[in-house]
Amino acid sequence: MSDTATLSPKTVSYRRPHGLYAIYQDSRVIAWRNLIHLPRTPQLVIFTLIQPIMFVLLFTYVFGGAIGKALPPGVSYAQFLIPGIMVQTLVFGTSATAVGLADDLQNGIIDRFRSLPISRSAVLNGRILADMIRLTAVATVLVVIGYVVGFRFQGGLGLGLLMIIVAVAFGTAMCWIMTNIGMRVKDAETAQTAGFVWLFPLTFISSVFTPVYTMPAWLQVFARNNPVTLVANLLRALSVGKVLPDSTWLSMSLPVFLWIVAITAVAAPLAVNRYRQV
C-alpha cells in the first residue's frame, strides 16, 4: 500500500469514441458483462439449457402420441413440436431480461453505469445484445435435441438458419417488452412473476403444442391471431421447406415481420425513455 502513483491524476491517455461507434463499443462491453453472468447464474443455465431439453422430451414422449393423431398424415409430432417449442422456449427465456434488469437496478450497478460518461442507451442495448446471443444458443440447443427426437431441416440448412433467425428476432422483440417490466417493478422477485405469468396464456393458447382447430371456437379467435402462432407457423414452414406459392410465403412472413417491428418500435423507445428516469 505505498504506490501513490496509482491514485494520482491520469497517466495513460485514452479518449472515448464518439457517435454510433461509442454506442456500439459501450453496448459490447455491457453485453460482455451480461454474458459473463450466464455461467455464474445457475438459474439461468437451467432456463437456458435444461428446461428446453426437458420440454422437448416430455412433450414428445408424453403428449406426442395423443397430439400426433390430430396432425395431418405424414407430419411427425417432432417435426410439428420443435418449431413451436422453439418460440415457446425463447419467449419464456425473455423473462430473464426483466429479472436481470430489475436485479441490476436493485443492486445499484445501474447507478454505477449512469455515473459513467457512456451512451445512454448502452446499458439496454448491451443487455438486449447479450440476450440475443443467449436466445441463439437456446435455439441451437433445441435444434440439436430436435435432431435426437426426429426433427429435421427438411428444406435444407439455409431455410433452417432462417428459421433460427426469425425465432431469435421475435424473442429479441419480446426482450424489449421485458426491459420495460424490469424497470417498472420494485425488485427481481416481482420481475420474475410479472415477467413470467402472462407468458403461459400467450404461448399455450397458440399452435405451439397442439393444432388450433382442436380448441374451442372462442379460444381459436385468440389463438389464430396470437403472434406466437404466426411465428410458430412460419418456423414450421421454414423447417419443412415445402415449395409454397410466393403469396403464401408472403402472407405467412409479413405478419410476423410486422409484429416484430411493431413490438420493437413501441417497447424499445419506451424502455430507453424509462431508463432515463430510473
Partner: protein, 341 residues
C-alpha cells in the same frame, strides 16, 4: 484571482412526493479540499450526492461540478467524477479485476490499458490475491475497497464518497481514511457524506451540517465548535475549600447559569463562549483573590456536542459525551426543533 469553486450548489430542491429531501440547499467546495456533508439518516445527504453525480435531476436550483451544469452537461460532468458509496455498486457476479476492466473499457481505454489500470489499482488496494474471485465472495472491507477502486479507474478530479465507511470495521475504516487522505494529497477534491461525526472531524476541511433537506450550519470543524458557543474555562482545584472560595469570586464573571461546580472532580466550569478575554480576567481575578488553580484549560465542545445542539436531539450533559460512544445513527431523536442559523 481566486479559482471558482469546483462544486457549486445553489438553492437545490428535490422532493419525492411529500418528502422534501432537499429544501433549498446551497454550498460550495474549493478545489483540492474535502467537504464533509454531515447529517442524520434521511437528512438529504445522499439525494444531494445523487444530484451532483447526475443520477437525479433537481426540481429546482443549480448544481455545477467543475463549472459544468449537472443537468445540461451531464456527460461532461460524468467524465470528471467518481462515485463510491452505499448506492453505486460493483457487479457481484464479476471478479474484482473484471469490474475494473469493464469500467476502464467504458471510459474509453483499450483492453491493454484497462488491464494494466485494473492491475495497478488492485495492487494498490491489496486486492491482487482476490483479483480473479467473484466480488460476491469478498468481505465487507474488500468490497468497499474494490468499489472505491472502480470509482478511481478514470482518475476523477472530484470524488463523491457516500457514507464510505458505514458498516465497516475500525481497521477497514481507518484504511479508507488513509486512502482518502492520499487522494486529497494528490489533488482530488472529495465530497464525503457521513453520519459519523469523528469521520467528518478527521477528514473534512469544511463541514456542512444538513438536516431535513436544509443546511443548518457550515464551517470548519473548529468554527462549528466555536460558533455553537459553549466554550468553557475549566479550572481544577486542589481541595474543596479552594473550590468554594473560587466559586464566590467567579460568580461575578459568569453569565446567568454559566458557572458549574463539579464537586467530585473539584472542578469549576465557566462558560466563556468565544470571549477568551473573559477567561483571562477570571484567572487574574482568582490570583488576585489568592486562590490558585491546580490546573485550568479551555474546553471546546466536540463535534458531537455541536451536532446535537444543532439538530436539537441528544440531551446528555456535554461533559459525559465521549466521541467513541456516539451511536452509529445519531438520528433517532426528535429533530423537529432543529436550529436554523
Amino acid at each position: 484571482m481566486l479559482m471558482p469553486p469546483i462544486i457549486e450548489v445553489e438553492n437545490l430542491h428535490k422532493s419525492f412526493g411529500d418528502t422534501h429531501a432537499l429544501a433549498g440547499v446551497s454550498f460550495q467546495v474549493e478545489e483540492g479540499s474535502v467537504l464533509g456533508l454531515l447529517g442524520p439518516n434521511g437528512a438529504g445527504k445522499t439525494t444531494a450526492v445523487r444530484v451532483l453525480a447526475t443520477l437525479l435531476a433537481p426540481d429546482q436550483g443549480v448544481a455545477r461540478v467543475g463549472g459544468l451544469d449537472v443537468k445540461t452537461q451531464a456527460n461532461a460532468v460524468r467524465s470528471i467524477i467518481g462515485l463510491t458509496g452505499q448506492y453505486a455498486a460493483v457487479d457481484e457476479k464479476l471478479t474484482g479485476s473484471e469490474n475494473l476492466r469493464m469500467v476502464g473499457r467504458l471510459l474509453g481505454m483499450n483492453s491493454d490499458q484497462a488491464r494494466s489500470r485494473a492491475a495497478a489499482l488492485l495492487e494498490r488496494f491489496d486486492l491482487t490475491p482476490a483479483a480473479d474471485r467473484q466480488v460476491a465472495t469478498y468481505s465487507g472491507g474488500m468490497r468497499r475497497r474494490v468499489d472505491l477502486a472502480v470509482s478511481l479507474v478514470g482518475s476523477p478530479q472530484v470524488l463523491f464518497l457516500d457514507e464510505p465507511t458505514t458498516g465497516l470495521d475500525p481497521a477497514s475504516r481507518s484504511e479508507l481514511w488513509a486512502i482518502t487522505r492520499e487522494l486529497v494529497a494528490d489533488g482530488t477534491t472529495v465530497l464525503l457524506t457521513t453520519q459519523y461525526l469523528d469521520e467528518a472531524d478527521e477528514l473534512a476541511d469544511r463541514i456542512v451540517v444538513i438536516d431535513h433537506g436544509e443546511v443548518i450550519e457550515e464551517g470548519t470543524a473548529d468554527e462549528l465548535k466555536d460558533r455553537t458557543g459553549g466554550r468553557s474555562l475549566e479550572i481544577e482545584f486542589a481541595n474543596a475549600a479552594e473550590l468554594g472560595a473560587a466559586a464566590v469570586v467567579l460568580e461575578g464573571f459568569a453569565p446567568p447559569g454559566g458557572l458549574h461546580r463539579n464537586e467530585q472532580h473539584q472542578l469549576l466550569s465557566l462558560s466563556v463562549d468565544s470571549d477568551t478575554a473573559l477567561a483571562v480576567r477570571a484567572i487574574a481575578a482568582l490570583t488576585d483573590a489568592g486562590v490558585s488553580p491546580a490546573d485550568f484549560r479551555l474546553h471546546r465542545p466536540s463535534l458531537d456536542d455541536v451536532f446535537m445542539a444543532l439538530t436539537g436531539h441528544g440531551t446528555e450533559p456535554v461533559d459525559q459525551v465521549n466521541p467513541d460512544s456516539i451511536p452509529a445513527e445519531p438520528t433517532t431523536g426528535n429533530t423537529s426543533e432543529a436550529v436554523n442559523s
